[in-house]
Symmetry: C2
Subunit: 510 residues, 2 copies
């Protein structure tokens, strides 16, 4: 009764349907109380939020519009005759209601909810309600049930013939902590399979996929990925082509703006993806520091127990390591600058950031010790050998070659400004969150050459007027955003003659 029309509007992850207020077969207002409709055609049903349209140039009265994402999910061509129905409640409605009311759910409850979320049958409001309900009350058994449900709803990778498939994951929050790009070539050079899929940054200035894309193509399909791993044991690709945990993508999109970052969601998110990716052995890096996600050893211990409990229950051999999360790692923040640091380490350059190298070696050593053939405690030394001998660099070159050239040549942003100390002293603290925000505003990761180059780290002496870091940007608007934020507060705290002043100033534009 209505003709289907694709509306060229992207509405993020939420399905949106458009109906003309002048529509005659249906009265838009009748659907308004519930704010949702079910679009029906050819045995398919799609639940969508309803927006009403008054402009026939956007949508004629005899059409039903779907947003870009909803249209492609519905999967029928324009012009298809569709009808509208009042939305049937999702199958998991009772389970969601129970979670909102603070009750404990069993495995069936989580399976139903995660299935509806993964198939976009929840709106953002229901997703938010689920997350807050989980945050308010969630047992360890529930965290396990959620992890299983999230791993089961997506695709599963298998690596036949490989008794060990290793992986590492950092819980995040520390800019420049790009260890995966050093760990993978070391572990691959040793001969353990490490098929690493990484995400692009969502709210941080760079994800591993963004930084790797400065050096090589990362949009690699599953078959190609298998070939690369068969040839060289490791890869560093973007995980977006493989829907390992489709529910997690939806949850994250709502968690971020709400700043929800519960231990339970984190464990379920990370472990469901690793399980679905076919990993058997996993090292988790948990940085602890005053501006990191984990502020204290006590916080870290609780999270570690939860990781271990769920990891054991789903059959992942899992080791948690704590690391220093008191300041950014390396010197660069942003894809081009981080790739520079990574390559300096792999090339054994004398200017390579030592903290990035040592953290990478430590993590690689832990992973290598999963190898039964390696003597206990020998992992770190083996990792150092593989790095210093150039074997890791060779493996990296091979991975880059097999993944193919990067989609574009990324160079450092030409717009730059130094942020300088305004008094003599010593760098006392660097706020990770603040620097990530500034780098992000500068354009990273969308402009890969944007970011921050750290010229001083914690403990370094500085003189008034000496630069603390340099902001790089590719574009005017972003450059101004970033400099504006840095001018409000640099993120550096310099102890010195001037008391506890954190003050700093913007230098001239170069």
């Amino acid at each position: 009764m209505l003709g289907l029309k694709r509306i060229a509007i992207g509405t993020s992850r939420e399905n949106v349907a458009f109906l003309s207020r002048a529509c005659t077969p249906y009265r838009a207002a009748a659907f308004e109380g519930q704010e949702k409709v079910e679009v029906v055609a050819g045995g398919r049903r799609l639940v969508a939020a309803l927006n009403l349209v008054d402009d026939p140039a956007i949508l004629p009265p005899d059409c039903l519009g779907l947003s870009q994402e909803a249209f492609s999910r519905f999967g029928l061509p324009e012009g298809t005759i569709v009808r509208l129905d009042h939305p049937h409640p999702p199958r998991s409605r009772d389970a969601l209601q129970a979670k909102i009311e603070g009750r404990e759910l069993d495995g069936d409850g989580y399976r139903a909810i995660i299935d509806d979320i993964a198939h976009h049958r929840y709106g953002k409001v229901e997703v938010a309600a689920f997350l807050v309900g989980c945050g308010a009350f969630m047992t360890t058994a529930e965290t396990l049930a959620l992890t299983r449900a999230m791993a089961d709803v997506g695709e599963r990778l298998e690596w036949p013939g490989a008794p060990l498939v290793v992986d590492k994951h950092c819980i995040g929050g520390i800019p420049g902590n790009r260890t995966s790009m050093i760990v993978v070539p070391i572990v691959a050079a040793h001969g353990l399979p490490m098929p690493k899929t990484s995400s692009r940054a969502i709210t941080s200035p760079a994800g591993t996929a963004d930084t790797m894309e400065v050096l090589a193509n990362v949009e690699v399909g599953l078959d190609h990925m298998r070939e690369i791993v068969a040839a060289v044991k490791g890869c560093l690709v973007w995980g977006g082509h493989v829907k390992l945990s489709p529910a997690d993508d939806v949850l994250i999109a709502v968690e971020r703006p709400l700043n929800i970052d519960t231990r339970e969601q984190m464990v379920a998110s990370i472990l469901s993806k690793k399980k679905a990716a076919g990993s058997t052995h996993l090292v988790i890096d948990m940085p602890v520091g005053p501006s990191a996600k984990l502020r204290s050893a006590a916080d870290a211990a609780r999270l570690r127990k939860l990781f271990e409990h769920v990891g054991d229950a789903i059959g992942l051999n899992l080791r948690v390591t704590l690391s220093d999360g008191s300041q950014p790692v390396g010197r660069g923040i942003g894809p081009v600058l981080e790739a520079r640091d990574v390559m300096a380490v792999l090339e054994n350059s004398p200017t390579a950031p030592e903290d990035l190298r040592e953290r990478s070696l430590s993590l690689a050593g832990r992973i290598l010790e999963f190898d039964p053939a390696l003597r206990g405690g020998a992992g770190m030394a083996r990792a150092r050998d593989l790095l210093e001998s150039g074997a890791a660099m060779k493996a990296m070159r091979r991975i880059m070659e097999l993944q193919g050239p990067p989609p574009r040549i990324a160079t450092l942003g030409a717009l730059q400004r130094e942020v300088v100390a305004d008094h003599d002293g010593r760098v006392a603290t660097i706020d990770c969150y603040r620097l990530a925000r500034i780098a992000r505003l500068a354009g990273a990761p969308f402009d890969p050459g944007a970011g921050i180059d750290l010229l001083k780290k914690v403990g370094d002496p500085v003189q008034a007027g000496e630069p603390l870091y340099r902001i790089h940007a590719e574009r005017e608007v972003e450059f101004r955003f970033a400099c504006g934020l840095a001018a409000e507060a640099s993120g550096y705290h310099v102890n010195g003659n001037n008391g506890n002043g954190s003050a700093s100033a913007l230098g001239d534009i170069h």
Copy 2:
């Protein structure tokens, strides 16, 4: 740098901004992580969710579009030069975070949150998070703080010279419970001021405003409302012109689809509006029944205590009465049918539904006893006098006359079908929720002539083939929706020879 453009799309209560993916001054992707932007021009700032547009016919690349609601809230003409900023977190961000994490908030916290909600600085996701956080944990002191914050953020009505301003409120859920339209004229005839503002239905088949609109104009401005109350003591108008609790409108829009109906939110919602409307004395009707909002006397007692606690603290003289919520009240469900029942009671017609009359007299009696001049216990008799003498009918005629004629002549929907019993027996139960759903699908309240006419009530004997109720609709699509739902389950349970069968059948179309 971008020209402002109004996009003729209604996005309900959420502000939505549209940006072309081809936009050059701003890179849309840079705003995507946070999913929101702040639109800035002439000292005004508006936070909006961001949708990306690929069709220059909807939005040229050098423009920034705003949805209908967002455009009118921003308040600047099309073509205004605007710029985009990364959104500043709302002032209440820390308080929201604390509530999400299950902590107790003080008055400042609630004031900050309610101020941001009322001014549309929250998206639906934040509103949902707030509601679920409150549902998970909320003290009585917090309920009071929330009520005060909600009352303070809106407009306040004052009724100078009236020592008593009375009101009544039913917590809802029982179709046909249209007592206000009988209580107001009785109380007005007695001489107590009762300036009743009512809502339109959101998810029910009729609100008092919808039913009153069958008889008179209800879209009355504040000055006109004062004149009517000065002349005749009472009125029955739509509350939408007076923003008594603007935050509540936003909260309700998210509560309904999530089916959140906590005691705390209900108390804050109702009492904040009554306080803001200048009421001094209030009777609250709480129907209790198996398909009502309150299922047991224990539920009712808890809710009653909370109403009394908060009512006392904000200076409302409040009485709670329990009533029978086991079945719909009167015979009609839907605006035209309910208006018919109301007028039959006011006209003292022998066919008037007795349950509607007696409930109304009981409530009116309670309200009249707020009058210090009336002897204790004499309220109900006084109410009956005013009804039976025709004084109430006279007051109602005067109210209708002063409010003006209805915007259109509403008549009973011509499409009709009877739902009949399929075995002999006696009506055991009627599901209030089910009948409300059927009436709603039939088109009520948008088609005022749509609804359900109940031909049998609980306890009535029925024979197989005898009609239980009649569905009325104005339009084909809605008629089929309603008949389809009734065919799945009628909502009637008839005990009889046929065991416990609730079965019934659809009769012929008349």
